[in-house]
């Protein structure tokens, strides 16, 4: 069954069609990768799903809710959360506070409850702090909760960003190049971690990836974009043999990545 379902989504920037007529089905509890050369429109597609951009045409359905025209804060409440290609943590907040912001939508305290520090508020805050600590531990950052996000090393920042996304308890998690800038060991850890997210927490994962090793290693379905359009879709093995895909990458002179795996 499709958790996320898009029909003929189109996003233009002036004359440039960043995403064109895109149809994608994302099955529940799958790991689905989107690949494509630079500027293919992958990030733009993410931005359309999460409400950063409003597509000019088309329909995006999540659990039978239409997402087009909703603001990002509504969409995250429906259960879609994301990370960013170039990490966007709240740099001057601690790791712990970053995660607590992720929990925002699940907390109810209002102005007077907070000022009076009502029992309900205190209970809620305590539970939130516990959950945040649990998430820190989950992404292997236990003990680093009091560090400012900007002072964490790169790999930790990537994982903290995922923890923050998880804090909103998503059904669908969008990861924009989660292994960018990682060495092979870290990349392997991240792959295991992503698989773990799906297997243990049952979160559906939509993934933008450049490293073919990752794409082929963990995804069940791969969608290939080029110039904003879908040029192929299928299992990793089907994609690898697809001449159109090789052509798209060849045309941009990055054969290395595709052939690397085969």
């Amino acid at each position: 069954m499709a958790l996320l379902f898009t029909k003929k989504v189109t996003k233009r920037f002036g004359g440039l069609v960043a995403v064109g007529d895109l149809d994608i089905d994302i099955r529940e509890k799958s790991i689905h990768s989107i690949i494509g050369p630079n500027g293919a429109g992958k990030t733009t597609f993410f931005n359309c799903i999460t409400g950063f951009y409003k597509p000019e045409e088309g329909e995006i359905l999540f659990n039978d809710h239409s997402l087009v025209g909703l603001l990002p804060d509504r969409i995250v409440r429906l259960g879609i959360s994301r990370t960013y290609q170039n990490i966007r943590l709240f740099p001057n907040l601690t790791a712990m506070e970053n995660i607590l912001v992720g929990l925002h939508g699940h907390l109810r305290a209002g102005f007077f409850g907070i000022v009076m520090s009502t029992p309900a508020t205190r209970k809620e805050e305590k539970e939130a702090a516990e959950e945040a600590r649990r998430l820190l531990k989950f992404v292997n950052l236990a003990g680093k909760g009091d560090f400012l996000a900007k002072n964490l090393p790169y790999g930790d920042q990537r994982r903290l960003e995922i923890a923050r996304a998880l804090a909103s308890r998503p059904k669908l998690l969008l990861l924009d190049e989660p292994t960018a800038g990682m060495n092979p060991r870290e990349t392997q850890d991240m792959m295991d971690f992503i698989q773990h997210l799906r297997d243990e927490l049952g979160i559906t994962i939509l993934l933008i990836e450049h490293q073919m090793r990752v794409v082929m290693g963990i995804s069940e379905t791969v969608t290939v974009l080029d110039y904003g359009e879908k040029i192929a879709e299928g299992t990793p093995t089907e994609i690898q043999g697809n001449p159109k895909v090789i052509e798209a990458y060849l045309g941009r002179g990055s054969t290395a990545e595709v052939s690397q795996v085969s």
């Binding site: 712990m96 506070e97 102005f111 702090a129 680093k144 009091d146 400012l148």
Partner: protein, 557 residues
């Protein structure tokens, strides 16, 4: 080498500027140490020392001889440029352009020794300052700290003599200290030395034994630890309560002014410091608070004639309401655009109040008078010594609310918005509601201070609410440290309290603000007292302990 020359030149230009705008002369009225050194000379020396230190710090390689040579050079250049001013001044009459270039200025600069000897003295003094700064740079960290703080205290005591002297003289036993420490103008020599030695000794003692005492404190069982903490707080409260009686009328007045700025600053701190919305029209809410109080309470207009306390809830509601009202049109604006738009709002409110159209209700340029004083059970908050308590209560309330908000879901939402608005929204934060809440909270605090301001003066005039107030408050927050509550207090004390205490400052207030802002941006962009990183992950145990204890207390009680 090149760096040192450059730094020296900058220092020299700064000193010439300070001399020509008349600051040195104005400041030399007051002696730091009686008949030894005046505040004007101190100012010049501090600049020379600072430049020497910079030159030392920027020395590549950092071989100590080079460091000293560079700091010597920059000091010499500073002295040289000032001598140049003296020489040029003795040949040409600069007064046509610079009104402050009077003979008395040259006398000050040459230590009353005439041009020839004075020039050598200046060069010597500059070079000496430079070398001292270089030595300071080379000395170990502990020594540097001790020297800096002890010397700073001596200068501080000298600068704040008008504050300290009456305080001491009011109390019999302390009067002796007063005589020993101060003359009619400046510290006595033995007082200055004594103070320096005392502070240095205390600092050295603390550096040796401080950690022992701290761990000792932490190892105490929780009960006495709490008692110690509580007694600390009680002492602080006691001091705050008796302060106006101790300080007398004038200083209480200074405290009330600082207190009003603290109140305003805490409100703007929510908008700018927490939520990151640069609001330059903040005075609007102050004005709205004042005028609402006036309209509701003043018999002069004869609409309502409520008492202060009856009017207060309406004032706060009015403030919050106008916060939402003025916040709504600027919801989509960020950064500079927001600043400009809000700046406009501040002016609009002032002009509206001034207008003939609203004159029957708001009194136009004549303002509104006869605003009654607040009173509780017969105690009237009449003069500064009584209003002080009103303001203190207001500050404590607002600090309390700010603290609660900061550590909450709302505070975090504000700060997330400040850090990255788009991502905050994508984390489920409703930007409209969150922004409006920040505007409304800040406006409510501001209206509260407006109400106190109105009863303090017993009257309100449009010209009290000009854009300078907004700018002052923004400066207070930046200098104190964005988002930091103690920072607001320190910032208000430094930027509002000091100029009130020092007549000499008042004239150069804006100059000092500008210099302070530039200096802060360069040297300490996080502010005088930055917001401490909030530790949460390891608070767990303490929290649990405190909680189990309070539940025990509940059961036993």
């Amino acid at each position: 080498m090149k760096q040192a020359i450059k730094i020296g030149l900058i220092g020299g230009v700064v000193e010439i500027l300070l001399s020509l705008i008349g600051m040195v002369e104005a400041f030399s009225q007051r002696d730091i140490i009686a008949h030894v050194i005046s505040m004007g000379h101190t100012l010049l020396i501090i600049v020379a020392l600072f430049m020497g230190y910079l030159a030392a710090k920027r020395t590549p390689g950092k071989g100590s001889l080079w460091v000293l040579a560079n700091s010597f050079l920059s000091g010499l250049i500073v002295g040289g440029l000032v001598s140049l001013l003296v020489i040029v001044g003795s040949l040409i009459d600069l007064r046509k352009v610079f009104v402050n270039a009077m003979p008395v200025l040259y006398e000050l600069l040459t230590f009353k020794q005439g041009t020839q000897i004075g020039v050598f003295l200046l060069l010597g003094a500059g070079a000496l300052s430079g070398v001292l700064a270089g030595l300071f740079f080379l000395s170990p960290k502990l020594l540097r700290r001790v020297l800096l703080i002890s010397l700073g205290s001596v200068v501080g005591a000298g600068v704040l003599q008008d504050l300290l002297r009456p305080t001491f003289s009011l109390w019999g036993p302390l009067a002796i200290i007063n005589e020993w420490l101060f003359t009619a103008n400046g510290l006595t020599i033995q007082g200055a030395i004594g103070l320096f030695v005392l502070i240095a000794a205390l600092l050295l003692f603390w550096s040796r034994k401080g950690s022992v005492i701290q761990t000792g404190f932490r190892q105490l069982p929780p009960a006495p630890q709490r008692i110690l903490k509580m007694s600390g707080i009680l002492i602080l409260v006691f001091i705050l309560l008796i302060l106006p009686q101790v300080l007398g009328l004038f200083l209480s007045e200074v405290f009330t002014i600082v207190g009003l700025y603290v109140l305003l600053g805490l409100g703007l701190n929510i908008v700018v410091g927490y939520a990151g919305l640069l609001d330059l029209g903040y005075v609007a809410f102050f004005a709205i608070g004042s005028y609402t109080t006036a309209v509701l309470t003043s018999p002069e207009l004869g609409f309502f004639s409520l008492s202060f306390w009856e009017a207060l809830p309406f004032v706060i509601v009015m403030g919050v309401f106008s916060g939402v009202l003025l916040g709504t049109p600027v919801l989509k604006m960020r950064g500079d655009y927001l600043a400009i738009a809000t700046l406009g709002f501040g002016e609009i409110i002032r002009i509206l109040v001034l207008s003939d159209f609203l004159r029957p209700w708001l009194g136009g340029a004549q303002g509104i008078g006869k605003i009654p004083k607040a009173s509780i059970a017969g105690f009237e908050f009449a003069g500064p010594q009584q209003i002080y308590y009103l303001i203190l209560a207001g500050c404590l309330l607002v600090i309390f609310i700010s603290l609660r908000l900061r550590d909450s879901r709302l505070g975090r939402a504000w700060m997330a918005m400040r850090e990255d608005e788009d991502v905050a929204q994508a984390m489920g934060i409703n930007l409209v509601a969150t922004k409006l809440l920040a505007f409304a909270t800040g406006a409510g605090f501001s209206a509260l201070s407006g109400a106190i301001f109105a009863t303090k003066l017993s009257s309100v005039y449009p010209h009290s609410f000009n854009v300078m107030i907004s700018i002052n408050i923004v400066c207070v927050i930046i200098v104190g440290g964005m988002g930091s509550i103690p920072g607001v207090i320190v910032g208000a004390a430094a930027l509002v309290g000091l100029p009130e205490l020092l007549r000499e400052f008042a004239e150069y207030r804006l100059f000092v603000y500008g210099a302070a802002l530039v200096a802060m941006m360069l040297l300490r962009p996080e502010g005088l007292w930055p917001e401490a990183v909030h530790r949460r992950e390891f608070h767990e145990e303490e929290e649990k302990e405190a909680e189990s204890k309070s539940s025990l207390e509940l059961k036993s009680g």
